[in-house]
């Protein structure tokens, strides 16, 4: 069932009511369309599983929605699968499927929505749920050479039992394990990179770059070396503990993730966060974005060995870290978000000082940007290298700055506003070349934009409280989202009868983008690989959770 990318150009983005109407007309009695809650705008409950791929194809290609992710939950006797799609400008659409536990398999949608590939593999590894029609299940999160078959850690075996059986679960590395190599050429070989590479200053990822000499023919990353089972650890814990986990599983986007988590809880509690807290949250979120992008730019300069530029941008990043610490007490903005608002307030002198530091940093950044754009040896390494064309970007559902560099201009702050972003005016930068240079330009533009948002947030600050009381309800269920520096972050939460976490699902931008990373690397030379990696700026630990 091949999908024609030409549908990309002929379809126009549909609004949610139009989608609802079309679905009712086309698919009729096989499903139930209703208004969603807990953050979801439209909920489509399927009556029969086989229609799932058709619906997904319709939503992704004809209705031009982006794919959010798959949330798998093990209920008493059923599997509950929730497929999230975003209709930019309208809201989230959820396709619900409940199948009995005895069902052997669920139809796979990966042939139609390629972006669902890894979501299904994750569900198979962690839940043992089989997806019919997916050709490559297994050896994803639980590496085959370490984990025996059938562990399925997310099944309703209590976490503490799993911990007690840790040594039994682990067995010796399989000496006969061989990776799956695809290129068949007498002179082909696979260059291994990682998981310990770059002296460890890169996060643990493993690549097998299959090549016949100069160009990389196939490159598929092997992730989940940093898998800490955050979703599982959170089960049975109170919401305040889960908040600590949300902050700390991907610390360079800590604020955005904790914000998404808190938004989910606030939605569950139906609490309105005070205006001051909203503006402060925007301020801190953009501060984090600015600092993160400075780090990404430093990484790009480092990868092309432009040492002076790399050092100078690294100085900017460190000064922003220090400014964050001076403002909030923690360099990475831990411990600020809480359901209902923020843990503490900030004085206007502190805000002014922060503003000064940000302005100094950004003026330095401007000067460096001009210098970089005139350094031809630097641009030579980035231009027309690591190209992700707009069709592939759409097909593989790239999000964040990487997606925007390839024409996928989806930004949750504009397309699904949260936390008062709706009142702010800002542009979402968009480029279509999709090469390293485009990604660099996007990073700079977003950094400047964040500065302007910080200014505006401070201007809009009015005296008031910074938190509202928020008691997590029993059986609460909600979706929270935020635009993290790398892209869209989704946190979905279900509480049990005592208000403890029953199921916690995190879908990160890195998880989405790592899937498509190979498109940028294949058919380019070996030497370009570290540079392409740096221009993507992906976080393995955010993907691994």
């Amino acid at each position: 069932m091949a999908v024609t990318p030409s549908s990309l150009r002929t379809s126009k983005r549909m609004k949610i009511d139009e989608i609802a109407r079309t679905i009712r007309e086309r698919f009729g009695s096989t499903l139930l369309v209703s208004h969603g809650d807990g953050g979801v705008t439209l909920s489509i409950a399927l009556v029969e599983p086989p229609i799932l791929p058709t619906i997904s194809r319709f939503l992704f290609w004809d209705a031009v929605c982006t794919f959010g992710g798959i949330i798998v939950e093990q209920l008493q006797d059923n599997w509950r699968l929730s497929y999230l799609f975003l209709s930019p400008g309208s809201g989230w659409i959820e396709v619900l499927l409940e199948v009995p536990s005895s069902t052997p398999a669920v139809p796979s949608i990966s042939a139609d929505v390629h972006a669902a590939d890894w979501h299904e593999r994750e569900a198979e590894d962690l839940f043992g749920l089989h997806f019919e029609g997916h050709p490559r299940l297994g050896d994803f999160i639980l590496h085959d050479q370490i984990w025996p078959e059938g562990v399925a850690p997310h099944r309703k075996l209590h976490r503490k039992t799993m911990d007690a059986h840790r040594d039994r679960l682990r067995h010796r590395p399989n000496p006969d394990w061989r990776p799956l190599l695809v290129v068949q050429d007498p002179g082909a070989f696979a260059m291994p990179v990682g998981p310990v590479y770059e002296g460890g200053l890169g996060q643990s990822v493993h690549f097998l770059l299959e090549t016949v000499g100069e160009d990389v023919v196939r490159a598929v990353p092997r992730l989940f070396y940093n898998f800490r089972a955050v979703e599982k650890i959170a089960e049975g814990e109170p919401v305040s503990h889960a908040l600590l986990l949300a902050e700390r599983f991907a610390a360079t986007s800590s604020f955005a993730h904790s914000l998404a988590f808190c938004l989910a809880v606030e939605r569950m509690c139906r609490v309105e966060v005070p205006a001051r807290a909203k503006n402060l949250r925007i301020l801190l979120g953009e501060l984090e974005r600015l600092r993160h992008h400075a780090g990404a730019i430093a990484g790009i300069c480092e990868s092309t060995a432009l040492s002076v530029a790399a050092s100078q941008v690294a100085i900017i990043e460190e000064l922003l870290l220090r400014a964050s610490c001076q403002f909030t007490g923690h360099r990475y903005l831990f411990g600020l978000n809480t359901p209902g608002g923020l843990h503490r307030d900030f004085t206007s002198e502190a805000c002014t000082e922060l503003l000064g530091a940000v302005d100094r940093a950004v003026s330095d950044l401007h000067r460096l940007e001009r210098g970089l754009y005139f350094t031809s040896s630097f641009l030579d390494r980035l231009e027309d290298v690591g190209i992700v064309d707009p069709e592939s970007a759409r097909d593989l559902n790239f999000v964040g700055p990487v997606g925007r560099a390839s024409g996928q201009a989806v930004d949750l702050r504009r397309d699904c506003p949260y936390e008062g972003y709706g009142a702010y005016h800002f542009e979402v930068p968009r480029e279509i070349e999709g090469d390293g240079y485009a990604r660099l330009r996007i990073l700079f533009q977003e950094a400047y934009q964040s500065t302007e948002l910080i200014h505006e947030a401070i201007k809009r600050l009015e005296p008031g409280s910074v938190s509202a009381s928020c008691e997590p309800p029993a059986h609460g269920l909600a979706l929270g989202w935020a635009e993290a520096p790398i892209g869209a972050a989704l946190h979905w939460l279900r509480l049990d009868s005592s208000g403890l976490v029953k199921r916690y699902r995190i879908i990160t931008a890195s998880f989405n983008n790592w899937l498509g990373f190979r498109v940028a690397v294949e058919d380019f030379a070996f030497q370009d690989f570290p540079i392409i990696l740096a221009t993507f700026g992906l976080s393995a630990t955010e993907c691994d959770r």
């Binding site: 000496p175 061989r178 050429d185 291994p192 998981p195 016949v212």
Partner: protein
Amino acid sequence: MHTWIGEAVVLFFALCGCGLVVSAVARGRNAIRVLVGFSAICSALMMIAAGIALTTGQSFQVGLWHLDGLGFFSIRLDMLSAIFLFTAGLVYPPASLFVRNFIEARFHGRYPLRRYGAIHFALMASIVLILIANDAPLFLISWECMSILCYLLVNYEGRRTGDGRAAYTMLAMSEAGFLAVVVAFAIAGRTASDWSFASLGAAAVHLSSAAVWAVFVLGFLGFGVKAGLVPVNFWLPRCYTATPPIFIPVLAGITLNLGFYGILRLNDALVPAHGVGTGLFALAVGSATALVGILYATTDNDLKTMLAHSSIENAGVIVAAIGASLVFRASGYALAAAIALTAGLYHMVNHSVYKTLLFQGVGEIEAATGTREMDSLGGLARLLPALSVVFLVGCLSIAAIPPFNGFVSEWLTLQSLLRSASLVSPATKILFAICGAALALTAALAVTCFVKVYAMSFLGIRRGDWALRTQAKSNRPQFAMVYLAVACFLLGVLPTYIIPALNRAVELLAGASATASLVPPFFTATPQNHQLAPAFLHDFHKLGAQVGSNILPGRGLVVLVRGGQQNPVIFAMSTFYGFAALAAFVLITWVLVTRATRKRGVARNELWAGGIPRLLPEMSYTATGFSNPVRVIFQAIFRPNIVEDTRQTVAVHFRTAILRRREETHLVDRLFFHPIGDAITWFARLLAGMHHGKLNAYVAYTLAFFVLILLLYRVS
């Protein structure tokens, strides 16, 4: 003065005959021993005869018999023949020994040797006869015998495996070359009194320029078939790959040289050129051959085919040096001609030695592992340590790394090309510059090629599925290969003894002595006897050029390229002193390091590969990957015709296999072989159109022919 050359020659032929008979008669294991024994003695005789000739400077001549119409058959062992004979004698013993060892190792001593032995001795006799023939008919007859015998040996196993096409190509090309040579000799000897070389040489003085060109081109290309020159060498890679390993050392080490001998004999000794054109032609063809040869060698993954291309490359270098020498002689720079010719002859000797060594090494590898593909080899250094050492010596020699022999001859060749600065015509100088650059590029690519060969075959981890065959597990190094490795080393370290020996022939051909200019007599010169300028002697004495004068004989150990007044020394080198310094340095370092680290233990751990569970063979660099940059840079020459890139998918997004295949046609095939073949086929098809079986048409043909004859008769 009575020298024993004649006796040696007679004894040689007698023993060859005996060997022929006995090996045809002997049975079983004895057959091998007889073969090797007689072969060794015959080669020793070759070397003795040639050695006597070279040391005493005496040549040997004797008439054989007289045939009506063809003249007097005679043989003559002059200096040029002596050099080639010595080389052949140097390489035949290890080649024969290798036959025995290989048959024992690979075939457990069971090999149909009767016919092989007979052909072997016949071939040996015909090679010697070619080298000492003093008149054209004897020369041509023995040449033809040699071609046919070579074909029989190349095809020896082909009849069993059924693939005789490569050998047939060689035979066809040899015959075509032979015809060209016959025509060349015919043109040269049109006005001569009889067919002996002396008469041909005397008559050649009166030849017109066009005739000289005709003789040159026909002789050059005719002998070039055997030598392996572009464009007539398209048989070489195919043939060498198909040749059984017991014969290929002889084919590559000895019969290749016959091509050079032919070129030198016809175009240098007998029919010297009038102008620089012919020399430039030789230079250009040589450089092109060298470049094409090394390009294909670098990108080839089969060890034998790679060595075949490398032979082409070396042949190109030799012929380029010869061509340069011809140009210098025609321009009147006898000294430069002498240096260039020395370089060419030296390279010829070196090439015989290290090519034989390398082919034997490859034969060993094939016997031990069953495969010749570099992509599947790897890790042999640990399994076959002795072989890896001698093979390394061979690789270093062919890559022209000091202090081995390849370095000296390659260096001399490039130096002699640089002498072109003294030529007058700018066009000549430009051509020299281009060819010099091509040869320099060739040298660099040769290093790449052999680094790849050694690294991919011996170093690293095993990449293929082969298992080491039991016989090869014995670690004893083969005497034949050690002999050749030591020869490589000695030829490299003692150039100041080789150059005077080569000088005997060089003096005759170029008309100047290379020794005087290349090997200054530092050992024998004193400020008093004025063999060298006192200031010069003094400077070099400070550099240590007289070290060893009390112990070693000869003129000195420094090879010098002298310039003019302003620049007395252009380049000086001494591989001997260099090697001594290197050895001392390595020894001192080794002593210091072992003493310093004696207290520390050495722990062995597995290979670090980034933390993955195991480094698999699929993850190590392949030969294709190593040479890929060369393939990409020279894409215009390789012109890969089809690059198939099929991706089989389960669904659009998932790929299960990516298949790639690259099909290339060799440059020479593309430009010469296929067009010629197509032309011949076209013509044949045209002729075939006449054979349609209709009787009426045949009668018409006869009638037309009859009419034509009558008309011709009328006209004349």
